[in-house]
Chain length 409, copies 2
């Protein structure tokens, strides 16, 4: 029998919140961004939260991309459970490459929907609209994106006229303002609606351009610190985590250090015989040219997968190569949605398809990106002590709701 | 029979130089320093050298510290051959902890001495004096440090009155100027003495303070680029490498992320039962507080080394732990000069002895340091194409003389 104040979602149990609880997913928040900003006085609230609360470096989900990790955080489960293993996939059934933004790909209920069903008032704000439909799937409550903040309705978003509530203009999709809008709206709605649970998810536009400790990065984190401080003053339990880290991905000549894997396969097996899929691909690739440190490939039937893996491992800059089964087990991925081989490149190296298919003309700063194991470390910070928690265990970013609801209330 | 234009040193053969050859060891030169500086227009000479010459990312020696790597570069061999496995060691014979600056610890001849013996004019300039005696051991020629540039003599250094030749004041030992002096002196002496072989070795004062792409780092690399350009114009073959990389070593609160290993052993085994040695230790620790990502420990006779290793592996932030024999084999270290266990911490974590024994009051910037496998990637750049070189093999920083003398002339 279910306890009245408990919720079971994807085989984990959660206490219902007794005070407003905000889980923040800061896109591309390599822990060093926080370290450098705190050290140089740009995040006074966070400095205090770390001293008086709890700071953990956790592991996110590999591939270290936005969609799989946001869905892991709101389901409390790895992609093998929720099914979202990238921004983009090869749909074997239809033989086409498609975006994974449609809720039809989702295989598990979200905590957000379950909390709303349990009578809690839930509010979700994302930077980009691509995530909104996945996060808000079957959820009663407020759910909108900064990107489409001028196009909301009670029917679709559970809220009307966001712009006049927030008092800011619609931000450009490629801007730091897109994330600032998320925080500003979060504070306004916490004041006005006092939801029981809020999920805020930003975009990594700033992190793709600016390294930890630089002026551009510190300005962003200083802005964020101010809004988190306001949420704290409003009495919220805050859990801050990230979808993935971020690293420079350039060779010594300052150009992106790319393994063009489709070109490599074409040279080995003939043009188009293998199909390389980059799950980082989404409609917004100007700032990273669709280059990340993770790829999967579909091989022709009857291929000697072991031999292919052995030669892929010899490619300079390749960190690890797995068969479908190994990758599914090691990274907890849905085996039916990844290719015959899965590979991860090193910290400074990315994987592309064919050189001719990547438009790098939009890169106005040395490439920074993510996707690999080198971007797996993320912050998991609570503005509360967490009594009774075993601090020696491995933590995941998708433990955020567990810590916030079960330990921090 | 020895070919008249060939030299054999430590089981490798080298052609004698036919034009002035300069090997530069840039202390703490994480490849990303070059990438960010080139990308933002601070290193026009290097940009051209990479386009017209050869750019390789090589592996340095672990522990990724200054002395072992400088000695590897000038002997063309790992520490198992030359014996210098740190800046500091526990001398089992005398039962004392001592600096490893004395040439008595050197077990192999240097290429520099051999080139001088073969009639070549050799010139060595180091930033800090600690390296000078090791690098200049049994070498006829010019050998001095920026640090003691006001205290040179023909007898001891093969040169007199360095200051008036260079036209700069004696630099402070904690300054970027200490390294600039090395380059300035190198250019002046190349013009004036035209040595056949020059070895320049800088200090990582700047790299301990400034991350790649920041103003402080770019200013240093821009300065360096100007001097290298002058050496290139003087017709030199230039090989640029590094002793080790460099990474931020801070927790999210901006403070050094330290495993205090002596404290850990004291808690496990009793005070002082084990002895932790940090081979980063040297007389100049203000800028890193003697905190690096490598340590070795001596255990009491009869210890269950396997059990100790198993518990050390569970320490948060520990990347790898080895027995003496494993470490000696894996990192090519002299087994008689390391402890019973050897450990390496992760990219953002350092290892200390006891909290009470590290003075961190001199740290005026968030800690950056080295010592681990995370700092093993270093540049290996030649301002020449290298015909006939197998580019798929693993390169080491101590291949610098091999490439410069055997492929680039």
């Amino acid at each position: 029998m279910r306890k009245p104040n408990m919720l079971n979602v994807n085989h984990r149990s959660y206490k219902l919140p007794t005070r407003p609880t905000v889980v923040v997913c800061v896109d591309g928040c390599e822990p060093d961004y926080l370290a450098q900003a705190v050290a140089t006085g740009h995040m006074p609230w966070l400095k205090r939260a770390l001293a008086e609360g709890t700071g953990i470096v956790a592991d996110c989900v590999v591939p270290t991309f936005t969609n799989p990790n946001n869905l892991s955080i709101v389901t409390g489960a790895p992609p093998s459970v929720h099914g979202i293993c990238g921004n983009y996939l090869f749909d074997v059934a239809s033989g086409t490459e498609v975006m994974m933004n449609d809720p039809k790909w989702l295989r598990a209920p979200t905590l957000l929907a379950a909390l709303a069903d349990a009578g809690k008032k839930v509010c979700v704000i994302t930077a980009k609209d691509k995530l909104r439909r996945l996060l808000g799937h079957k959820m009663k409550g407020i759910c909108f994106s900064s990107e489409k903040s001028n196009d909301v309705s009670m029917e679709e978003n559970g809220i009307a006229d966001v712009l006049s509530i927030v008092g800011l203009p619609v931000p450009d999709v490629y801007s730091a303002a897109l994330s600032e809008f998320v925080f500003a709206a979060g504070v306004k709605l916490m004041q006005r609606e006092r939801p029981d649970v809020m999920y805020l998810s930003t975009t990594d536009y700033v992190q793709h351009k600016h390294a930890p400790g630089t002026e551009g990065a510190n300005a962003f984190y200083s802005m964020m610190d101010g809004y988190l401080s306001q949420l704290d003053e409003l009495g919220c339990v805050i859990a801050l985590t990230a979808d993935h880290g971020m690293n420079a991905k350039v060779a010594m000549d300052g150009q992106p250090d790319v393994i063009y894997l489709q070109d490599w396969f074409d040279a080995q097996l003939g043009a188009g015989v293998a199909r390389v899929i980059l799950p980082i691909t989404d409609p917004y690739v100007v700032h990273h040219g669709a280059l990340g440190s993770f790829a999967t490939a579909y091989l022709p039937a009857g291929s000697d997968v072991g031999a292919v893996i052995a030669s892929m491992k010899k490619i300079k800059g390749m960190e690890a190569v797995y068969s479908r089964e190994e990758a599914a087990a090691h990274f907890e991925l849905p085996a039916d949605r990844i290719g015959d081989v899965v590979c991860v490149s090193e910290r400074f190296t990315v994987i592309g398809t064919a050189a001719s298919r990547h438009d790098l003309s939009g890169l106005d700063a040395p490439l920074r990106s993510h996707g690999g194991v080198s971007e797996q470390r993320v912050p998991l910070i609570l503005n509360r002590k967490l009594p009774g928690l075993d601090m020696t265990r491995r933590f995941r970013n998708f433990d955020a709701f567990d810590l916030a609801l079960n330990y921090a209330q």
